[in-house]
Amino acid sequence: MHENSVSDKKMPNLRLIKGKLIQPANWFFIFIVSLFYLFATSCINKREKASQNLPDTNSVVSEINRYARGFSITKYGNFDMLEVKKPWQGSEQVNFKYLLVKEGEIVPDSIRKGADLIRMPIERIVCTSTTHVAMLDALGKTNAIVGVSGSDLITNKEIKERIKLGEIRDIGYGRELNYEVLVSLRPDVVLIYGVESEMTGLIHKLKDLGISVLMNGEYLEEDPLGKMEWIKLMATLFGLGEKATVLFDSVATCYELLKSKTESVNHRPVVLTGLPWKDVWYVSPGNTANAKFIEAAGATYLWEDLESEKAIPMDLESVYLKAGNSEYWINTGTARSIGQIVSMDSRFSYFPPVSSGKVYNNIARVNATGGNDYWESGLMHPDIILRDLISIFHPELLGEQALVYYQKLQP
């Protein structure tokens, strides 16, 4: 608006000057002034043209996330500015900004402020995490996927089929990405995530190659709904913000409704999670989505008071002592039966859930190649996961319900 108003004022002024100065005597002056006029109007014309495409940058609207803390979407007029904060563990100082730009749009520096540009429309996309696949699936945009990382870990049948047909390529895993394949896919954007700062190398490499990158940090969210809310960020790539909001709100409502049902339970059983690596138990702290799920399902997480950024390696004997009052044991890694757990370490038979048989694992939807849908579509269905957990801890609350992601481990 500001720039438009300036040019509107200039035009009549110049015309006025011209009118005053038309005197036959001073041709030279007229000549100069005409030149100036031509120059000035051509400039103004140009400006006017540009201003038609210029966004209404005065209107800055930040969407407020309901649960997620790791990203923000700000609308500068027509532009969407995405900000990803804390893209990996312990990276409070790091943030990434992305500006979504439609074809033919010019970006004013006043908005860009060093942000990376992502050109729309997005028609070719590479996913490096199964959660990215799940989000695109929920948005109905799996047809845009041209490359994935770690195809074995994916459970989405349509994607699996297209990998088999060669329509989707596997670009390798972790840091060992196959850059030649990646470049040959000509992706409009590569979705990546980082466990540590090692990803910055990959980001620079992709930038050098002229490939846009969008960092995802949904796995760091401390709330299951916060994780799912990242679909809003993904949706902006396709201009599907409203669809994502509707989808998210309906799942969130469902989740909150289920959660409210457990608030009045009298007995909140204590729940143990995880499985040790040899004699070291990497304990997941209490400020994680894992713990939030248990709490929402009307139970108590064994380490609910433990706050940490990362899992903490603990001695098996102190875990054993703490697990003495646990009633349920969930998320037991790769173990498919209680017998397997005991064969890893016979001392697990002292754990109360093992002797009472109350061991449940989130492996009901694991496919032949080892992909677990809990980590894929589970992201988009925190309500179903919560329903599973409530059915496990409080079977009387919801009536007869078949478990979806979880299964009871057989002895």
Binding site: G150, D279, S318, Y320, S343, R347
Partner: protein, 354 residues
């Protein structure tokens, strides 16, 4: 022999006997401390009551002492003794102060076995088979891996006379194994890598009571073979030619020592992962303490020092009073390396072997 010489020999023998006695006592003290200290605080009185078979106040405490701490402490003693004895043997056979239990490529071979199990098999879809094998799977994989490298070394050592060539070949075989492990690591996922890395960091607390029986049987047998070969080790110290003049066939001698070393280091690696530095450092400490090259002293001495060293490392790695733990391999390295640096600086060189 003159009188003063006899007296000095007598004095030396007494000094050795006293040092052995002190080491044995230290071993006992740290053995008890290792049982008494841990992440969970249990009052000493209750531990004594549990050990004497009286009813414990808390059932959990009884389980912690009997099923967690005692097997772990026994494992620490066996690991320390086995690695130190095999390290000493290797230093003598190769006449190299930097030799250790793993110069034959045993740990590299074991890593290859475990790497194939953890990172190769899972990718090939053998998960179901492995899951049912529990913690035996890694033990068997490590044994097969180190067995393969040992077979290579033994078949070479029958043909090759020069011991240095065998040393170099051992390093080369080990490097091949390491390179293969790197290839496997390159293509594996985070969870596979984590599982493998945790194995390489060593662990004392994951040996079940059945496995402890196998571990102690093999280690004791290996140590018996070493004790029986004290004389040939002493002869080998003076060179293979000298050994030959005594009527010993160097190749047979080597074979015996290699077999006992792989029994000691191989079993320990299979059950506890490649526990580093003990095998190199402890023989030097033993030479420093006993000031002799006689294996009838150095062997039991290394055994005791190794056990004490490992018990102390274990106590540190448990961080008594805290829930957290440190990997045992880092603790042995952090404790072992300063010792070896101190020895080098003090003596201006590594203690000579003979």
């Amino acid at each position: 022999m003159s009188e003063p010489n006899k007296a000095s020999i007598h004095l030396k023998k007494r000094r050795i006997a006293i040092s052995m006695g002190i080491l044995f006592l230290l071993g006992l003290i740290f053995f008890v401390l290792d049982i008494f200290l841990g992440s969970v605080h249990i009052p000493a009185g209750d531990i004594l009551r549990i050990l004497t078979g009286e009813a414990a106040i808390k059932v959990e405490w009884k389980v912690i002492i009997l099923d967690f701490r005692i097997p772990r402490t026994l494992t620490a003693v066996l690991v320390g003794a086995a690695l130190s004895v095999s390290g000493l043997q290797m230093q003598t056979i190769f006449r190299n102060p930097l030799a250790g239990p793993y110069v034959l490529g045993i740990s590299s071979g074991a890593s290859l076995g475990v790497a194939i199990l953890v990172m190769g098999f899972t990718s090939l879809g053998f998960t179901a088979v492995l899951d049912n094998a529990g913690n035996w799977a890694m033990v068997i994989a490590a044994t097969l891996g180190s067995g393969l490298i040992l077979m290579l070394i033994l078949s070479v050592s029958v043909r090759i006379r020069d011991i240095m060539t065998i040393l170099i070949l051992g390093i080369l075989f080990g490097s091949i194994a390491t390179a293969l492990v790197a290839v496997l690591q390159y293509f594996s996922t985070e969870s596979m890598l984590k599982s493998f890395i945790v194995w390489t960091m060593g662990s004392l607390g994951n040996v079940s009571s059945g496995q402890l029986r196998i571990l102690s049987f093999t280690v004791l047998l290996g140590i018996l073979i070493s004790l029986a070969s004290v004389k040939i080790l002493n002869a080998m110290l003076l060179g293979e030619d000298y050994a030959r003049t005594l009527g010993l066939d160097p190749k047979t001698v080597r074979m015996i020592i290699f077999i006992s070393t792989s029994m000691l280091a191989g079993t320990v690696t299979a059950f506890c992962g490649p526990v580093g530095f003990i095998g190199i450092v402890v023989p030097h400490i033993a030479r420093l303490v006993f000031k002799t090259a006689d294996h009838s002293v150095l062997l039991p001495g290394s055994l005791l020092i190794g056990a004490v060293f490992m018990l102390i490392s274990d106590i540190f790695s448990k961080l008594p009073g805290y829930d957290q733990v440190l990997p045992i391999n880092s603790v042995t390295a952090l404790m072992g390396i300063p010792v070896i640096i101190w020895i080098i600086i003090r003596r201006k060189k590594i203690t000579s072997l003979s």
